[in-house]
Symmetry: C2
């Protein structure tokens, strides 16, 4: 902090850290030569000195600055014939947002006549009234209620009923205003024991001191803290000559958006209020009118020339800010003055359109345009969403398990959902929870709602894979499938009644809510092309079935990074064969059941390879524990026994044998592969035979990547790799065709990360399954974390949910260790990430920095990952360039 | 490998790597001046050359060595009047055990008369017969059956009926032997097409070549591999002059133990066979007789002078080997010759006694004595064991969950066990599985058997804590508690029938098996005193209750390293209060229920502190998920609801709410502490109040160490530490007493290990819970690993069960990372290990190398840990000394 006062002309106040954000913005606008009142900025350091010692602490510097301003404006503060009026606006330092402004400083008994000479007596008195009303509470601590009571005892039209400009004020009105001023000044005298400050300089000093002290008060610091602002942020000031929105000629104030905040279209829009100042429009005392259009009261109709001048100023502001802007302006006797220009707040779609348009207009580089978009905003482009403007009747709230929105008839069973689908009315499937038997119904449903379950429940995982909107854990709703009634939000719904699922908000709504449809073309498509051109990392999709692969290909991914083969086993015929395998006595019976699965799986793989032709496909061998394929209830187990023709005791015994205390840490993944070799042998065979057939069908080589899950020791890899090689050799001989393939390790146990060097020696790729790796690194089951995750996030124990955004400090370090060691074991080992973090922008950036070759995520998040990867590449390049010797 | 032959006199063959283990032993014995036949050693390098090129490859070196031997013995090979006879014995290189010997080389038609001059004609012919019988199959590849058939066509007493020494051979017998020799030589001629080697030198060369080739054959290599030997191990030879155990005067062969192999008492024992050679005693053709004792046929009775000479030689061998030995000897005409001396194979108790005795006799340093004992052997000292000599009728096999053995009446319920105990007949509790409700019955039972469960099942954990023998997962047994029948091993047992549980072998036996009782005094006690003097690391005990602490103190531990406070909640009254707490609505009701638990817990802590006075006590705050305290079956839940006077629906709802998919990774440990603050607050209060009271009672300060479980982020530590500090402050004020305490972190998630630096900044100690850390590092639930652990160990996927012996490569690296980072965060942070690995010697050694301050284990394993820690200290010191600049 300097001990000398630090006051500069606005044009020189570009340093936001020193003069606050508002001053810096105004400096930028001033530099661009835009029409603005002259002014100066007081640094935040000076603001702190004012808070402790009053404005006098600024010493002669304030006088000098004032003098320069007077000279620039050609008026003097307190001048009796043509006085200068001032505005004092707070300019908060970094990490905080500002405080209110005090306008019309300088109007007082002494100068009223001078002001009246310029704007008429009524307007002058109105300005004086406004000053007292805003100044007295803020700077003098006068009770607002007392002021309003005093006003209410005089005619109420004083403020609200100001006549349109041009009409001569009646003597009555001026007299009325004088009475009101007198009444307010009496309140001030009574409440403070002193008259309202009589001189403009006194007003200025007090305004500065009161604002600075208020900002520094403990209460304000606490408020900043509560808002998440930096409580230590400083406060500077912007002092400008007033542009008067009240007076003769075309006068008023308003705000203008350089582009449409909803669509991003390059159309000027906004609102203004004739004979108004600053925030009058927002106060709602009078209805502001649109700037544009052919209505009677638009500025365009009233004064096309003024609108043109405003439009030019807005264009200038946009250029100065290098972004779409929302401008605050005043019209004084037809002349436009800009008071501020902030970046335009905008919806997701507008953000994309504006960034692309600005780049195409040459105002931004493409890289800068890509950096402008928060990748998560793209979700709105990818799914239908409930129109934010539409009214919504919420009947239940749960977890936002899969984004998008859909409306349709309620179906209480998968079968009912299929019936509705057959009629061309995709249903909203509403269940307590879903299981493998619901898969077909989910495929044809428009959306899914469950009463139970968390973010990794069956319903949530499957819906995300399908890209269908889904809300889970809607605890308040009551479901009586027998009676066919859903009770929610105090209403009852029968099968066929229409409801809406809003998977983005995690809500169920009554009726069919109006939708905004997804938008893949236009600016979005352009942005994606640019993103692909800028990114280094590949973006693959997690695709479990040919249908998923088709969606993925539509999202222009670089391959399949994770095909969870178990999802191929849930169709009714297949799960029967799977269950036979599980109930089989010994390897031969197991092989017989698996032989029935082989053609299905092979056919799926052929289709997958053909769809993804030319792109890599990573297939994970069976991962879940076998009990996931058995029904759970006693009744379903009996049914299964009957259907299979085996004693129910045997089925129960097998189910009991397979039951696990901690399934996440149990007999699954490669442990199954090692101990029940027939399963992986069948899968390897299906993959290789499919590779041969797909290569013949497409006349292009297919190089499948076989991924082994849940590895914790290198010996698991080598053992399974040998078995896979044996199957490959057998298929090569049988088919008399050569083919190549890769075998890799899914790194999802901390131990696999630590042992990555030796594992990579026998693995062509390492793909990090960060879902499970996070669970194991924290010792935290995602399914069981619901009970305390909210409390943990609220208390800041976890800064973020580590299942949403990669825990860089813990899981991330394991990744870095594994990357370094994996490369030591095999310098060209391919490195990927295939957890849900692959669709999280911060995690994608981490992967870029860690040098991953690709990330893989749900197809519906692929555009997010593509943009995030592009941003990560751009930032990494920038960091490198900054760190380069030439730049140092 | 040198290209020059490498043959040395036996006395110079001390280098086992060069001449094989047997040659090295004989060199040691020779150097000690013990009575031994002269001989020389052929190196393993030469053995390899013989295998490829025959004995000729040795060139003149063999002639030179033979000449020296002839000179030393004063006889010449092939001499017609007094020929030298030779033995050729294999001396396997390191990593393998040897092959058979060929004796009596040098007796043939040409020398028979010369030998007969020395030993008589019959003995000479018998030696010749023996040579052919052993030489022809090994060196000439003649079929053994053919030889035996030829022999069987001549009188059968030829070998077995050799007359006692001194009796003159009848002419008939010599003639009979001549016919047998002729018959065997005819077989050799027929089978090989060549006569039996006619010259002694030919015999020697062929014996060497055949043995060397056999050793190098693929079949022998595979056998070595199958045995776990090094298939590449080399083979050297020991060639000695024969000491003839057949002939006139006192002749024979036998073996002698320098100390008792069972008890370790310093008493010579052994067996011998008059007129016998080498392995005759082992062949079982004639019954050998004891060396000592006053029976008619003992050596002591027959020739006390010879026994005295043998005893002196054995003492010499013991001195030379610096250990108790088993000696192989020959008596030739009254003179003792040692043929070999190996370290005495011995039982666990003998091992301790011998090591201690040798050290007290000054033959070993105490450090060397400590290193002699495999710490795991101490288990036999600590628990009753089934007499290994007794017959056993096994009725069921399961997992050896807790060592020791006990016999008693079968009890099918905890209540029944209490009834038997009241009658003074501690029972064997036999259950499907156990739960908290069985605790009292387990306390009074002699042993526990369950049909279900793994190494961390309730029964296994509790039994280990109690030191009671336990076998779990006995799948084959059928239990019908309603009918009161246990069916196992084809037999039925009713309540009260006596059975035996062998927790060391993991078996259930019918009836009361004879037991060997534990032995804490004598050599064992001495060894423990020495161990404590040599170890650097502390050894603490895991003790959950005052009763445990008393046992621990009896085992002379350095404190309590882990008190699992939840085990204090399972007694009937307490679990009721605990369940009320769980079912409570809101913090106030929870506090009320906890207030009832407080006095119990405080009283337990007071007792614990008083028992452990002067020693540190580490108390872990509540760790398990709350559902572990609720009953499981629907019926028990109803009973609970009735007892508590709450609706059963509420109890069921709460149980459903608390149920978890992966309890290991769920709402437990500090997650419970953070989200339900009242529990840890009560526990902290109980600890502090107890510390005050115990300090008053003992007039010594008590410094409790409070351990926070399942930490994954530093924020959990800081938040809970603050709350604990607040409780401490409150107790200080209420009690008007100062006290100090420590707060530490139980490191059991990989993330806590990675973040140890920041965690240690706010933690006075880090204690590694390697059970859970292993589960999370591998992604492997110990309870669910039973399904594949055996297969994994058998296939070598895991070299050892990582829950038994610390996985040095994975979990161990996390420990090393955490130790280094923890010290960075707090240089004097106290480091301990409190998983079950604390009782595993290899893991203890790892902890020594990692610089831990202590390990903590079950009280019953503390002696093992104390010895292992002493060994680790000794070895570490040795490594340091070896690595010191002076030693380099």
């Amino acid at each position: 902090m300097t001990s000398r006062s630090d006051i500069v002309d606005l044009i020189d106040a570009a340093d936001a850290a020193r003069y606050g954000a508002k001053a810096a913005r105004l400096a930028r606008l001033s530099k661009a030569g835009l029409p603005m009142p002259p002014g100066f900025a007081i640094s935040t350091a000076d603001g702190a000195r004012i808070a402790s010692q009053g404005a006098g602490a600024l010493g002669p510097a304030l006088d000098v600055a004032l003098a320069r301003l007077e000279e620039a404006r050609g008026r003097r503060l307190g001048d009796a014939t043509d006085p200068l009026l001032l505005s004092v606006r707070a300019s908060a330092g970094e990490g905080a947002s500002g405080a209110a402004a005090i306008l019309n400083i300088g109007v007082c008994a002494m100068t009223e006549a001078g002001v009246a000479r310029r704007v008429g007596l009524s307007a002058a008195r109105e300005l004086r009234l406004r000053l007292i009303l805003s100044f007295a509470p803020v700077a003098l601590g006068v009770d607002v209620d007392a002021l309003e009571q005093a006003l209410s005892q005089t005619p109420a039209e004083a403020l609200a009923g100001a006549p349109p400009s041009g009409a001569a004020p009646s003597g009555d009105r001026a007299a009325e205003l004088a009475r009101q001023i007198a009444a307010l000044e009496a309140v001030v005298l009574e409440e403070t024991g002193a008259p309202f400050p009589a001189t403009p300089r006194e007003q200025l000093d007090l305004a500065l001191a009161a604002s600075a002290r208020g900002w520094a008060s403990p209460r304000a610091r606490m408020l900043r803290m509560a808002r998440g602002d930096d409580p230590e942020a400083g406060l500077g000031f912007v002092v400008e000559a007033m542009a008067l929105g009240i007076g003769p000629g075309l006068c008023g104030a308003g705000s203008a958006d350089s582009r449409c905040a909803r669509t991003g279209a390059p159309l000027l829009s906004g609102r203004w209020l004739a004979q108004g100042q600053g925030e009058d429009a927002a106060l709602g005392l009078r209805q502001p009118t649109p700037l544009t259009g052919h209505g009677a009261d638009t500025l365009e109709s009233a004064e096309p020339g003024a609108l043109a001048a405003l439009a030019e100023a807005v264009r200038g502001a946009e250029a100065a800010m290098a972004d779409a802007v929302r401008v605050e302006f005043t019209l004084e006797n037809g002349a436009v003055s800009l008071l501020d220009a902030v970046t335009l707040p905008r919806g997701a779609r507008a953000a994309v359109r504006i960034a692309v348009d600005l780049a195409e207009e040459g105002r931004l580089t493409r890289a800068a345009a890509l950096l402008r978009i928060d990748p998560r905003l793209l979700i709105e482009h990818l799914h239908p969403t409930v129109d934010p403007a539409a009214p919504r009747e919420v009947i239940g709230r749960g977890l936002a398990a899969s984004p998008g929105a859909a409306a349709g008839p309620v179906a209480f069973s998968a079968d009912a959902a299929e019936v509705f689908a057959a009629r061309g009315e995709p249903a909203i499937l509403v269940r307590m929870e879903t299981g493998p038997e619901d898969i077909r119904g989910m495929h044809v449903a428009a959306g899914v709602i469950t009463a139970r379950g968390g973010m990794t429940s069956h319903a949530a995982v499957v819906a995300r894979g399908l890209g269908a909107p889904c809300v889970v854990g809607v605890g308040d709703m009551k479901l009586d499938p027998e009676a066919g009634v859903l009770s929610a939000g105090g209403r009852s719904f029968r099968e066929g009644d229409v409801i809406t699922v809003d998977g983005g908000a995690g809500e169920a709504l009554a009726g069919a809510a109006p939708m905004v449809q997804p938008e893949f073309s236009g600016a979005f498509a352009t942005l994606m092309v640019w993103a692909d051109a800028h990114r280094r990392m590949g973006v693959r999709a997690n695709a479990d079935t040919p249908a998923d692969a088709r969606v993925a290909r539509g999202f222009n991914v670089d391959g399949v990074g994770l095909c969870r083969t178990e999802h191929m086993f849930f169709e009714p015929e297949r799960i029967t064969a799977m269950r036979e395998m599980i109930l089989a006595d010994g390897p031969d019976a197991r092989r017989a059941a698996l032989a029935r699965l082989l053609p299905w799986q092979r056919a799926d793989f052929v289709e997958l390879f053909v769809i993804m032709r030319g792109l890599p496909v990573t297939i994970r061998l069976l991962d879940p524990p076998l009990h996931e394929f058995l029904p759970r209830s006693d009744r379903d187990l009996s049914d299964l026994a009957k259907a299979m023709g085996v004693p129910v005791a045997k089925v129960r015994a097998r189910a009991a044998e397979l039951a696990e205390i901690n399934p996440m840490l149990g007999m699954r993944g490669c442990r199954l592969g090692v101990t029940v070799p027939e399963i992986y042998e069948m899968q390897a065979r299906a993959i290789f035979e499919a590779a041969v057939e797909a290569a013949e069908a497409t006349s292009a080589p297919v190089v499948p990547e076989i991924m082994i899950p849940l590895v914790s020791t290198n010996r698991e890899m080598t053992l399974l790799r040998e078995r896979i090689e044996a199957v490959a050799e057998a298929v090569r001989e049988e088919r008399e065709r050569g083919f190549s393939y890769k075998v890799g390790c899914m790194v999802e146990t901390p131990r696999a990360a630590l042992r990555a060097e030796e594992i990579a020696e026998g693995a062509e790729f390492l793909s990090f399954g960060t879902n499970d790796l996070t669970q194991m690194t924290y010792g935290l089951s995602r399914d069981d974390s619901g009970g305390f995750m909210r409390a943990y996030l609220a208390a800041g124990v976890f800064p973020e949910d580590p299942f949403h955004s990669l825990d860089v400090e813990g899981v991330g370090e394991l990744l870095l260790i594994a990357v370094e060691r994996g490369r030591r074991g095999r310098p060209n080992v391919n490195l990927g990430l295939c957890g849900e973090h692959g669709g999280d922008p911060a995690s994608v950036r981490f992967c870029e920095l860690a040098g991953f070759d690709y990330v893989s995520c749900s197809p519906y998040r692929a555009p997010i990952a593509r943009l995030a990867a592009a941003q990560a590449s751009i930032l990494a390049r920038r960091d490198r360039d900054d760190g380069a010797p030439g730049a140092a």
